[in-house]
């Protein structure tokens, strides 16, 4: 089971802050593809993924128990 968090525009688009996905493991790229399929307009090409609070590369593997977050373009400051 993988936990995913949504923020900002993506939280509003999906209507949720968090959900869980039944999967033992997947790549970051797969997670992005899943999000785009599930939520039209997700815009995966502009979204980064953090795994356990650290930016991950597209080829990184997400394991069951990991906490992921979709990070749309940041705008702090």
């Amino acid at each position: 089971m993988i936990t995913v968090n949504y923020f900002a525009r993506l939280r509003e688009l999906t209507g949720k802050s968090e959900e869980t996905i039944e999967s033992d493991s997947m790549t970051v790229q797969k997670l992005l593809d899943w999000a785009e399929d599930t939520y039209p307009g997700f815009g995966k090409s502009t979204v980064h993924v953090a795994v356990n609070e650290e930016y991950a590369l597209k080829e990184d593997i997400i394991q069951s128990g990991d906490v992921c977050a979709f990070i749309p373009p940041v705008s702090g400051g």
Partner: protein, 148 residues
Amino acid sequence: MMKPYEIVETPIEIQKYADYVLHAGAGAVTVFTGNVREWTHGIRTLYLAYEAYIPMAEKKLAQIGAEMEDKWPGVKVAIVHRIGELHISDIAVLIAVSSSHRKAAYEANEYAIERIKEIVPIWKKEIWENGEEWIGAQKKYPEGNGSE
């Protein structure tokens, strides 16, 4: 109480962070505050709503501090970002840096705000009289840990 790298939901007090970075070896302190301004590109802002992925944002602020200490040895740093609903003139972000000489205090401070805008998971929504929008420049997928 304060942490040197923190996300807060209440007003940011300058003095607290300036005091934190000051020590007997510090000859210069720079404090930067990013404040909510009323007009942007001719559009009047009513207020801003900031949101953060808090634990990761605090980690990334600490990472920026570590980068600064690496590039400008001897600097002491505090960075705080406020989230929630912010109104005109409220401080959204504060960066305090002390160093023995002034050059490092200026340079390291400016470096910090640039890095915050690149890697810290914080988002700003502008709310105007006739609409609202999440702000954020699109960037290509990062290589490595958000460092460039």
